[in-house]
């Protein structure tokens, strides 16, 4: 009798057990704010939640719930996923863990063993996972894409996307769209030829590839002198956004190579430093907009595209908001790529402004020189890859900002396979408040999404590599490189609460529900910290 009962349950389960994260769930992720189903929370990349238990007047009651310590001292840049009480996260170098989101205890861990000779410009980092049904997807710094079983952590499939010996790596969180997993490659400092690829989620079979640097015969190849396209870089190391209605995938593309010496790659160098809009079914390019033609400062357009529908200059439009590493804030029409607005949100000395098509008007003398030339923004940009946030209630676009200059040098662009191909080096990529003469400062800024005008600023002594998340209850969470995690008032920028976590905050905080109660998780140093309201 008992056996029959169990068998019946198993059979029923086998037939009716719903897939854990269906595509339909991701499509409607904003309807279930208790979970965090995809890298940016939703396909629109708002980093905003309708959860409102944590408010301006009780955020001071936040207390530490648990800490997860990674087994590596690498930077913790990963943003977790949370699905029905289970947190899935990556931690350096390429481990995956499933945690009980209530306690931080581990269900399982998967370890991807790396070859010893992996070399990456900026740390052996990983930024997170994609998920579809009961599978998790992770890119690795040795160029693989893995699919894991979400329940057991066992490997389902493993494909080689690119050869790490040539400088390719996967550091971004894959994006799941329909039945496909989409990834791009890092390696923009190694003379790679960047690309985005889509794989069948079930099998790992490649479906399409889009080269971010067009080859001979393809439109855009004429923007590269001679054969410079072959080592043109154009990495794609951050997750894109998706508009299901327009069926368009939006992705930010990285710098051209070599970074600081453009003499060997005369031309605009498409599609580096651009946003590309692709058909997710075929990988075909629908439109592009290049923020920094012929970049010689390393201004990757590697930021999260923020998609929203709202009135712009009196007319309802499908917009894309973009706070770019080059120091300008942009509003584009995401149906066509039409430039609508551009305005500097930080000090910019490499350009005098933007023309009426959004093309930068370069300032004479604003380029790297052999002797070194001090230019704003810094080599890490006026902002970078960490998530901005858009709050529909305030109409404000929030982003982390660096007010800091770099002395840019131009040197020899020497290419050797697998080594850096950058054409000299900017000295001091990360300033130190105590040891550097002119360390600049960091800030969280709130821009009017329609005009780009700054509404408030929260100034910090140090810089920030933290993303942001805004809540419907007007609390804005972020952190900084000093190790502080804090909450600001979305409307005024007033500091509401802070805690010193002791290590650099270098991921984007998320919020979700466990047992119906709102939690906030953020990484600092090599650990993930989770806070909830005191009971």
């Amino acid at each position: 009798m008992n056996f029959l009962f169990i068998f019946t349950l198993l059979l029923a389960g086998a037939v009716t057990l719903p897939a854990q994260v269906s595509y339909e769930r991701i499509l409607r992720a904003e309807k279930e704010p208790g979970n965090w189903l995809t890298y940016s929370g939703t396909y629109q990349g708002h980093h905003y939640t309708t959860l409102n238990q944590i408010k301006r007047d009780n955020v001071g009651d936040l207390q530490l719930k648990w800490v997860f310590q990674a087994r590596s001292l690498e930077k913790f840049q990963s943003t977790p996923l949370v699905v029905d009480g289970v947190m899935y996260l990556t931690h350096a170098t390429n481990d995956v863990a499933a945690l009980d989101a209530r306690t931080g205890r581990t269900y399982w861990t998967y370890h991807h063993k790396l070859p010893r000779d992996v070399s990456l410009c900026c740390g052996l980092v990983n930024r997170g996972l994609g998920m579809l049904d009961d599978m998790l997807f992770m890119g690795t710094v040795d160029g693989h894409l893995l699919a894991l079983d979400a329940k057991s952590g066992r490997l389902r499939w493993d494909v080689t996307v690119a050869d790490y010996h040539s400088g390719y790596a996967l550091t971004m969180a894959p994006l799941v769209v329909k039945d496909k997993v989409i990834v791009g490659t890092a390696g923009g400092e190694y003379g790679i030829r960047g690309f985005l690829e889509a794989y069948e989620a079930k099998s790992g079979k490649q479906v399409w590839r889009f080269h971010t640097v067009p080859g001979p015969g393809e439109p855009g190849n004429e923007t590269w002198a001679k054969d410079s396209w072959e080592k043109g870089s154009g990495s794609a190391w951050l997750t894109g956004s998706f508009d299901p209605e327009l069926n368009l995938l939006y992705w930010g593309i990285g710098n051209p190579g070599p970074d600081w010496n453009g003499s060997v790659r005369q031309g605009d160098n498409l599609y580096t430093d651009s946003v590309v809009a692709l058909d997710p079914d075929t990988g075909k390019l629908k439109w592009y907009f290049q923020f920094t033609p012929h970049d010689v400062w390393d201004f990757d357009a590697v930021q999260i595209p923020v998609l929203l529908d709202r009135t712009f200059q009196g007319k309802m439009r499908k917009l894309m908001l973009w706070g770019n590493r080059n120091g300008f804030y942009y509003v584009l029409d995401r149906t066509t790529g039409e430039y609508l607005l551009g305005k500097a949100f930080a000090k910019v000395t490499w350009a005098e402004g933007l023309d009426d098509k959004g093309r930068p008007i370069r300032r004479p003398g604003g380029e790297p020189t052999p002797e070194g030339n001090k230019i704003y923004p810094s080599v890490q940009g006026a902002t970078n890859w960490y998530a901005p946030s858009y709050h529909p209630g305030t109409g404000l676009f929030y982003l982390g900002v660096w007010e800091y200059a770099t002395v840019y040098h131009r040197g020899d662009p020497t290419y050797t396979r697998g080594n850096r191909y950058i054409g000299s080096f900017p000295v001091i990529p990360y300033p130190d408040i105590v040891t550097d003469e002119d360390p600049g400062y960091g800030a969280i800024r709130a821009l009017d999404a329609e005009t780009g005008v700054m509404k408030w600023e929260y100034k910090m002594t140090g810089l920030t590599e933290s993303g942001l998340i805004a809540t419907a209850s007007d609390v804005l969470f972020s952190g900084n490189m000093e190790g502080h995690f804090f909450a600001l008032d979305c409307r005024t920028g007033e500091l509401l609460w802070r805690v010193n976590l002791g290590g650099r905050v270098a991921n984007s905080p998320i919020t979700y529900l466990v047992d119906g109660e709102q939690q906030v998780s953020v990484a600092a140093g090599n650990s993930l910290y989770t806070f909830g309201l005191r009971q």
Partner: protein
């Protein structure tokens, strides 16, 4: 001496100028034999020039122009933490240093040797500088007339408000040392800057700024005590552009200055190795 003409063509670049001057002043490559090792077969002047080009594009970001350090260590020192021989340097560059920011590189054998030759050339250039004073006389002046121990530490003795001088000879040139004695405000390392604050209670505090973030400030006070101040309690904050160090212009004779510089330049205490 067969110098690479490409280098001579652009002497505006400080690194190129330094290399060119160095190559002009020593009879390379014979003088480039390294301590404990003569294994490098690619150490001709052309190899050094080739190595410097690779250094510029791959190493300069961390080790600074001229290899004098930055985010990474100063490579011109006579003692390097992970080894001084060609073989050891080749291993460090070719394999990286696990647990540090020093990455693995894919250079071929010849390229590795060229970089090693260049790094060794930087290290060879530094100790060749001759000073004219007497280090022993300088030591007496340092401890006596100069009163330097009041603020500086050497061999575990002395105050803490000024920079520790145990390795100053490995880090600073004689000219730089002399300038620091005569015009101490000309160069102040940011880590040695003095901060003056006034708290809400009207209390004034001065000292060396050890650390600072958005919310607080950590100071080594004038009485050599560690002090923490919350920024919310500060009404006035000033980071001083002047050094606490007095000028010794007119205090020491020219010969005494040379002796003091000779003493300071002799301070090359080895770093403790784990």
């Amino acid at each position: 001496l067969s110098l690479a003409t490409a280098f001579i063509s652009d002497l505006r670049c400080p690194l190129k100028l330094a290399i060119t001057l160095f190559l002009l002043t020593v009879s390379a490559p014979a003088h480039l034999a390294q301590e404990g090792s003569t294994t490098n077969k690619s150490n001709s002047s052309d190899d050094i020039v080739a190595g410097s080009r690779i250094f510029q594009s791959h190493c300069l970001g961390c080790h600074g122009r001229g290899g004098t350090g930055g985010r990474g260590p100063d490579l011109t020192r006579s003692e390097l933490r992970y080894g001084n021989s060609d073989q050891e340097l080749t291993g460090v560059i070719g394999e990286g240093i696990p647990g540090t920011e020093m990455p693995f590189f894919f250079f071929n054998g010849r390229q590795l040797q060229q970089i090693v030759a260049f790094v060794q050339s930087l290290r060879q250039s530094s100790p060749r500088i001759q000073v004219k004073g007497s280090a022993e006389n300088g030591r007496v002046l340092f401890r006596g007339k100069g009163g330097c121990l009041k603020c500086h530490q050497v061999n575990g003795e002395g105050g803490r408000l000024g920079p520790d001088l145990n390795q100053v000879g490995a880090r600073r040139s004689p000219d730089h040392l002399k300038t620091s004695l005569l015009e101490p405000n000309q160069y102040i390392s940011p880590v040695d800057r003095t901060v003056h604050v006034v708290t809400r209670g009207g209390k004034g505090l001065s000292g060396i700024r050890l650390n600072e973030d958005t919310y607080s400030l950590q100071i080594l006070g004038a009485d050599e005590n560690l002090v923490s101040v919350m920024k919310s309690d500060i009404t006035k904050y000033k980071l001083d552009d002047n050094s606490l160090m007095p000028s010794y212009k007119g205090v020491f004779s020219e010969k005494e200055l040379d002796d003091l510089v000779a003493f300071l330049y002799s301070l090359r205490q080895k770093e403790a190795r784990p």
